[in-house]
Amino acid sequence: MKHNGSFAEKILAGRIREFGRADFSKNLKAADEGGCGVTGFACNIPVAGKHIFEPSIRMHNRGNGKGGGIAAVGFNPDMLGVSREVLDSHYMLNVALLEPSCLKALKEECVTPFFNVAKEETIDRMPDWRELEGLEVKPPDVWRAFVRVKPEVLKRFIEENGFQGMTDRWAEDEFVSRNSVRLNKMFYASLGDKQAFVMSHGRNVMILKIVGYAENVVRYYKLEDFQAHVWIAHQRYPTRGRVWHPGGAHPFTGLNEALVHNGDFANYHATCDYLKQRGLEPQFMTDTEVSIMLFDLWNRVYGYPLEVILEALAPTGELDFDLLPPEKQALYDVVQQTHIHASPDGPWFFIIARNIPESNTFQLLGITDTSMLRPQVFSLYDGEVQVGLVCSEKQAIDATLRSLAEEDPRFSPVADKYWNARGGSRSDGGAFMFNVTPDGNGGKSLACYDKFGRPVEVERRKPLDITLAVTKPENYEKDIQTLFADALKDKDAVKLFDSFCANAAGWDYNTLRYVVANLGRTARRQKPLLNTIVEAFTLILDRRFSLGEKKRSALVRIVNEELNEIFRALPKITDTLNIGYYSLIDAAARKELRPPIAVERALAIDAKDFEPEGDECDSVLMADAYRLGWRKFVVFDMRGQRFHGCGFGSMTSGVRMDLYGSSGDYEASGIDGMEIHIHGNAQDQIGQIMKSGLLVIHGDVGQCFMYGAKGGTTYILGNTAGRPLINAAGHPRVVINGTSLDFLAESFMAGDPLNGGGFVIVNGLTMNEDGGIIFRQRPYPGSNLFSLASGGALYMRDPNKMIVEEQLNGGALAELSDADWNLIYPYLLENEKYFGIKIDDLLTVDGVKKSPKEVYRKVEAVPLAILRKIPSTDDSVWAANAATS
């Protein structure tokens, strides 16, 4: 599409001519929201709508059932009853009829005079909405039509607006967009009683929304088997109680895109004004609508490349800006100066599903605000099929993948890669897109890119075909079984793990599966070996080692499933005749909880059907179990359950918890004494106000890690997302082997680390699939490090002196002293024990072993002049006073 600035002016002028100048006197906001769960996935093959189900249900606690919506892009034409040609070329109008009787008038006013209609229908739905549990309001009837603007109408439109020279398609797009504004004005905005509104009008894009949870959209409109390449869904949490129509629900559309949003804007009024100055007036009064209007303006009207749009939405700032190449700086500077007042300010995260007809691309796009104030996780699976996902919570991603894999064995319930975007950064721009494009062989392929167009890839390895039956490898008895004989005889889990990982690279999937299944069988049959094998499996999950041609995601899947089977085969809590070390409890049996008998020590909790929070959740059950005498807990097959370790009270040393699966938010928050091991990635708000104890996370951890912590020791294999250890005091001791995205240890107040205070060690490394260590070029990418801190210290592995003063706001760089090294050395030793990351490797720079002083740097608090005089009151005053009373 050839863009020309004067056309943009003409488009906007035409709008003002048609709809009049906007009313600047008020920018009403219909409801405050912010709370939401968003999810989306894109796939190189069309997949059915039912797969948006699971993640939507898993995120009920992010919505309140007062607004849900879905959008899909890239359909199978047969399902819509049109030809491929019509699907690709025609605009698909989806109009919500709140008052079905208005359809005739609506068609007369807004459709028939202007459009040739290739197909129209009122879409199929359930006969009685009351049959759907949780619906309080009847969803609208939806009238769908495939339309093109009549040639003579378009010709007149072009002439009237001076669009000569513009491509016809561009003009037609504008006509369709403007016609929907007109329709909404007539049947929605201006009328006291709202009758109808356009949900979507783009090509190969559909939006449906209701007052209710998102998954009921799929049920009500019978989309379970409806196929598309890209799906997004939204659980809305409007704060206003009574909602009778879904006008304010997400997604919102521009033209060929649909946007869902989690967060809200502080500058809603300013952005509204910006749009109104350009003749664009919001009709639904939510910041989500405003977001997509900005996107549509910058994309369709101004014709900006996506990178510029993303920069306008989430500007690059601080150190990140300074480190951009000069030509980028020049461009971004102009973008920021022009659009900063429309750049959404506040916590937000967008997921956009787009059809880009010009490049034959279906796109799923996720973008976070500069400060990363909303949760977001991206992931990618690249096997026989390719799928890219972006969600508010990792557990929603896992739910989607599980749903996909249950139906189609080419999918995997475990993705190859999970990551967070770093908002407004030079490293990824805080945005990732998954593009589904023709692969040249009649099919489609999916590729992932960041804001700058740099690809995100996973190593191409052989995918696992789960449908193949597992057979006994020929050499099993001779070569493989013997590997484990010694370890099993000695009940030595580490030895068992060592022989497993020394040989796993050479096995094919069949052998791997057979070995795991066989060990699993042993564990189930021979009680004395149970713990050894569970421990060894756990090590297999936690550690990275060479797998040859095989995918790690496949190994994780196989071992996790086997572990689940082992745990599910344990004696149940109700079975008091069969007593062992473990007892198993699930949601159905939660009322049967009892104290441990005889040799029972550990409670295995099948988390699958537990609520994520509330009085019936598994973490509340565990706190009760602790009071009954249980001290060891294994929680498996987790699906986003929260708060594990909370509610146990003080001084809980001796308690140990192992969490398997998709653990949820607020794990280990407030723990005092116990130890928790999270086998896999952890989510947001982990370890908040932690007092003491041990937390080991074998993966990444989300936002606000250890916010306000007072103590405790934690080891993290991967990264911490934004704002870890904010306002932490006391003496927390933390080893982060990856890095933090930004705002690490802001307002850290953890005393003098050499005198009992707290500190954080950042090693700044990543691991490849096979466990090889790769050190990051910069151990810490963010612009804010240790800001406003008054105590504690950071120990950064930074042999190349990449940390600069500009990143510190109040802290100071210092050389590592012997006392510092003696302080952190034991923690690095422990770190080696948990993750196998050797101190020698940490001290090796470019193949040469260096002294600790050359490798680690200390960031410490600067004593402020104002603090020189410290008053010396203590409790004695109180004691003296109490005595006299």
């Binding site: 989690n262 509610g647 723990i671 005089k869």
Partner: protein, 511 residues
């Protein structure tokens, strides 16, 4: 009876005279005795208010804060006329006028001191209901019916209690006998003695006091059942154990006095004891961030509440927010997130530590916010399932009654408690040695200016007087319970629109 008692026990809610800690309390009038005095002690006999006191046959310096005023003293039966040597002069006290400010006028300060000393309303012409700010509650008046609607009501049995849990969710049912509890003031911002005085004073009345954000000193443990612990943005001193100790947990999202500014405790006040409780560095200024870093949306908020509920399985959850223009949405959002109490903090409050620029310019005045939220919750059909508590510059029993008539269930106070402890509103709370009265300080010497038992009794007395005033107000409205007053805006009038509103002084008799 004396107010001295065992420190770890909750004292009885009985008013006991508790005179000023300082030599001569400040009064509206000053009583001077010239050298001509011959110690004939006639004045002692004629004064009904015990202004004159004797020790060893000698006249002591007069308690001039008890003096009923010039008019009284000039009556033929009273002191001035009866002094044989004309040694008594009664006049306006010039130092009184130097006190306070337009919100807390000298009269209001002195009347509150009087209530805290005696548990009664002042008898002289001191204004005890409103200040002189020219707005807010100072312009609202209660409109009593001309005749008593129900003269048979037993005044002392009029119910002033409110329920704090109206959700029917299986958590604790808590009813407080007075419609007021103590707002959050941290150990660090005030001394431990001040903190405990408030806690014990409110506990005596069966009510609660919030710890503020500064930890939970061990000395508070005997009063766990009367304490609201605060979870605020800095999470100072917040531990699972402190959350589990109490029956009510308060989330502080913002303070009406300084919304959007977070909290700050300057280094001078961060003594070793304060730093120990908060586990920070002594002498380092402490800042609470302005947001909860873990809460940027209402679904985060729900998760946050769920978390506290997972830690404390029986307790109630209060959500304290300031009053932005969309405060109604915030309130209803909190209800849906599972809060039991929504606590609106309006813009008139704050001690001297809150910056003036914030106190005077941000957030909606509470008298606007209350009806807005009350009406919105009613329209949503959830008003009966949530307790609406308000604060922000509520100083007197009349302010409480007005707030409730506007739509609140109950109120929270802070500054008035400090005034009861003889705060003079000098606005130096932020500095380490700034508090001349040893209230808002952690300084070794200044803290010693106040005794716990004394402070406790002052609060008890003030609350006693407030309760009696509320009962009198309800009596005049013919109501048998304070719950009947909620949302009765028809019982209020605004001086801007009704300049000749009748006087609502309850010291005047009623027919």
């Amino acid at each position: 009876m004396h107010y001295r008692n065992v420190w770890s026990e909750v004292p009885p809610a009985v008013p006991i005279p508790t005179p000023s800690r300082f030599g001569r309390a400040i009064g509206k009038y000053t009583v001077m005795i010239t050298e001509a005095c011959n110690d004939c002690l006639k004045c002692v006999a004629v004064c009904p208010e015990k202004v004159f006191d004797v020790q060893g046959g000698k006249l002591l310096p007069p308690n001039d804060h008890l003096c009923l005023g010039i008019e009284c003293s000039n009556k033929s039966s009273r002191c001035v006329r009866n002094c044989p040597v004309s040694a008594i002069r009664v006049g306006l006290n010039p130092s009184a006028r130097a006190l306070g400010d337009l919100r807390w006028t000298p009269d209001l300060l002195m009347s509150t001191w009087y209530m805290a000393e005696t548990g009664r309303l002042p008898k002289n012409d001191i204004e005890y209901r409103v200040g002189d700010s020219g707005g807010g509650f100072d312009k609202l008046r209660l409109v009593f019916p001309k005749r008593l609607p129900k003269p048979d009501l037993d005044k002392s049995n009029i119910d002033t209690s409110i329920d704090l849990n109206r959700r029917e969710d299986g958590r604790l049912k808590i009813t407080i006998p007075i419609p007021v509890y103590g707002g959050g003031m941290s150990f660090g911002s005030i001394s431990q003695i001040t903190m405990l005085s408030r806690i014990r004073g409110f506990a005596a009345w069966g009510s609660y006091t919030c710890t503020g954000e500064g930890g939970y000193p061990e000395a508070l443990y005997p009063f766990d059942d009367h304490i609201i612990t605060q979870v605020a943005t800095g999470l100072f001193g917040v531990r699972e154990e402190t959350i589990q100790r109490v029956k009510i947990v308060e989330f502080k999202y913002a303070q009406g006095a300084k919304p959007g500014l977070g909290g700050h405790l300057l280094g001078d006040k961060v003594t070793e004891a304060v730093a120990r409780i908060r586990e920070t560095v002594p002498g380092s200024s402490l800042f609470s961030p302005f947001p909860f870093h873990s809460v940027y949306s209402v679904e985060d908020h729900k998760k946050h509440l769920d978390w506290i509920k997972a830690i404390n399985s029986r307790g109630l959850v209060s959500v304290k927010v300031s009053t932005p223009s969309d405060v109604d949405m915030v309130a209803v959002g909190s209800y849906y997130a599972g809060a039991h109490i929504v606590h609106l903090d309006g813009s008139y409050g704050g001690t001297g530590a809150a910056p003036d620029v914030a106190k005077k310019n941000i957030a909606m005045p509470i008298e606007y916010a209350i009806p807005k939220v009350h009406g919105f919750l009613k329209d949503e059909g959830v008003r009966d399932h949530i307790t609406l508590i308000v604060s922000g510059g509520l100083r007197t029993a009349f302010d409480i009654a007005k707030a409730i008539a506007l739509g609140a269930d109950g109120v929270v106070t802070g500054t008035s408690d400090l005034v009861a402890l003889e705060c003079i509103r000098c606005h130096n709370c932020e500095s380490g040695r700034g508090c001349a009265r040893g209230i808002a300080t952690t300084d070794l010497e200044l803290v010693g200016l106040m005794e716990l038992a004394w402070g406790t009794q002052r609060i008890i007395n003030m609350l006693h007087c407030w309760r009696e005033q509320l009962q009198e107000i309800l009596y005049r409205f013919g109501m048998s319970s304070i719950r009947e007053l909620v949302g009765r805006t028809d019982l209020l009038t605004h001086l801007d629109y009704n300049a000749d509103a009748p006087d609502d002084d309850i010291r005047n008799p009623v027919r």
